[in-house]
Amino acid sequence: MNKVLEVKNLRMNFGGLSAIDTFNLDVSDGEIVAVIGPNGAGKTTLFNCITGLYTASSGDILISPPDKKTKSIIGFKPNIITESGLARTFQNIRLFSNMTVLENVMIGRHCRLNSGIIGAIFRPKTTVNEEEQVVQDSYDILEKIGLEKYVNEFAKNLPYGAQRRLEIARALATDPFLLLLDEPAAGMNMQETKELDDLILKIRDEEKISILLIEHDMSLVMSLSDRIIVMDYGKNIAQGNPAEIKRNTDVIKAYLGETFA
């Protein structure tokens, strides 16, 4: 199958500390891949490298957008990477809190629109049409995610679970082919996690978006993922389907320490 993302021999050093050490990972088209590992294993750093917030010390990251050639995104700015079709959410929710829910999603559409200052001031037909279109598109996304009742609320006034979903909606608005979710279920209760599970599957199946996620909630990871990659001390220590990972002694060691293995 076609690989949409390939991380090759990635290293990330902070001073003398190596947060990621010759790490390899790939995501195939339409796959849901989970990265798990103890706290501090380097999972979020990996996301930051892929999305361009950090520049990796060495190694390569390749993307293959649908109908386009494979290219390396090392050294690209985050906004360019998002434009090429990678979108992410943040572990510690980072919404634009003093903007409305709809506007948050509209920001996601920003890189797919063209109007500039002149357009904003004189409002020619093209700009008016573009604005109408983006409002409608954003509303459709909110409806899909189930947040339409909050449309005009400020993002900061949303309940916690809804804020997490809004992060996903905002990322979807950038039209990605690969969605990176950083602990989407953190702080959610069982009911909300269940709904999130359905939502992620729906995004994959209906929107045809591949998904790479970091998650600590094992029930979610096991039920959702096609493949699981286990990370510890910046290294890839195991990978396989959920059943294989459950049996893997290295994984149990990494999580629970030597004596349990």
């Binding site: 999305t51 998002t82 903007m99 890189c111 109007s115 604005e131 905002r170």
Partner: protein, 402 residues
């Protein structure tokens, strides 16, 4: 909270003592080192004591109320909306209010004296440039402490062009705007990747550099003595009396202000305006959502500079004399005060802020020497108790068919 329990009074009493101690050398003693005289002003100590006693009670009460309010809004209920805000948002109030203000603005020069009209022109210049700064600080969240530099660029562009080549106001207006815009891009390019507070200091540095250069480079800018006999705005070559010209300048400013309001209002809810606000809210998330931070910052910075440039040209034409003393850092801070006190991001707030901050000291002469003292205190109090300003920003809402 009970205001007058024993412990509260005791607390306030100690705070009063503390402030009496704190202000003792500066407030009570006044030395004249030339004549070796000392004046003891014990009455000041009494005022400080009484003042800080009561103010400390109010201060603690207000802080407590604010914290309670924050807790409330965290649990989901929206924060209280001020009375003022409600008035502003109700069409029944604001429609007639706009009409009355409009008529008042139109007839103003005919019912008030030339002196008053002049003050109003100054106020309108401040409204315009504060709206420009509002793009930079209020919308894009870039703290620019050297804004006055662009105001100076506009003013000197016109003054020098007029002095050397006799170029008129209307030709100079776009030139001044373009020069300020260019300066905005040139200065903005290297500094806009800096973090917020560093940016503030660098812009402050730029503002001072431009002022100091104007002050010292006599061959170019005529140094501290400045440039005089700058032409007033012309009206298709018609000769106007001084009186007529001031009225003309007044209407010109009304026009420019309306134009500014129109433009800023359109920008605010446009694609680029949303990007500015997202940038202000969270720079990292903004970039991760596909927005080019540098470009977005640069447009905000340069647009703000353009308005300062236009304001500068009008200022030079209105006063017919400029020198570097009009462009100190404190000018930047007054404009910043207007934006912050009025309400960052809110157009109406900024207009209101300009009127309060420019007109009040103008009409309350007795209090004008306390102007800067009060501005300073107001900035602190505003940040502590109502960081949103008098009128907070309102975001556009959209309706959908169900």
């Amino acid at each position: 909270m009970k205001l007058f329990t024993i412990s509260e009074i005791k607390k306030s009493f100690f705070i009063a003592l503390w402030f009496m101690f704190l202000t003792f050398p500066i407030m009570v003693i006044r030395v004249n080192t030339v004549e070796n005289e000392i004046k003891w002003r014990w009455e000041n100590m009494l005022f400080i004591g009484l003042g800080s006693f009561f103010l400390s009670i109010i201060w603690r009460y207000t802080i407590e109320k604010k914290e309670a309010g924050e807790k409330k809004s965290e649990t989901g209920k929206s924060a209280e909306i001020s009375f003022f805000q409600q008035v502003v948002e109700t069409p029944r109030f604001y429609v007639p209010a706009t009409i009355v203000t409009g008529i008042f603005a139109l007839v103003f020069p005919f019912i008030f004296s030339i002196y008053q009209t002049n003050i109003m022109i100054t106020t309108l210049i401040y409204v315009m440039i504060a709206l420009g700064l509002n793009i930079v600080v209020g919308l894009a969240g870039l703290l620019d402490l050297g804004y006055v530099a662009f105001y100076a660029v506009g003013a000197y562009s016109y003054a020098l062009l007029n002095h050397h080549y006799g170029i008129g106001f209307w030709t100079a207006l776009p030139i001044g705007a373009a020069t300020a815009f260019t300066f905005g891009i040139l200065l903005g390019f290297p500094v806009l990747r800096l973090r917020g507070d560093y940016l503030a200091i660098v812009t402050l540095g730029f503002g001072e550099i431009i002022r100091l250069v104007l002050e010292n480079w006599n061959e170019f800018s005529f140094g501290p003595s400045g440039i005089d006999k700058i032409s007033r705005p012309g009206l298709f070559g018609i000769e106007l009396s001084l009186h007529g010209n001031i009225i003309y300048t007044y209407y010109l400013m009304i026009g420019l202000t309306l134009f500014t309001i129109f433009v800023v209002n359109r920008l605010k809810d446009s694609r680029i305006g949303r990007a500015w606000i997202a940038l202000r809210e969270d720079e990292t998330a903004c970039q991760a959502m596909g927005i080019d931070n540098t470009k977005t910052k640069l447009t905000a910075f340069a647009l703000g500079a353009t308005w300062a440039g236009i304001g500068g040209v009008v200022f030079a034409a209105k006063t017919t004399f400029i020198n570097p003393a009009s462009f100190t850092i404190w000018e930047s801070i007054i404009i910043l005060c207007i934006v912050v006190l009025g309400g960052m991001g809110s157009i109406l707030g900024v207009i209101l802020g300009a009127f309060i901050l420019i007109l009040l000291p103008e009409y309350l002469r007795a209090f004008s020497e306390f102007r800067m003292l009060i501005f300073g205190a107001a900035l602190v109090i505003m940040m502590v108790f109502r960081p949103g300003g008098v009128i907070s920003e309102v975001r556009k809402t959209y309706k959908f068919k169900k």
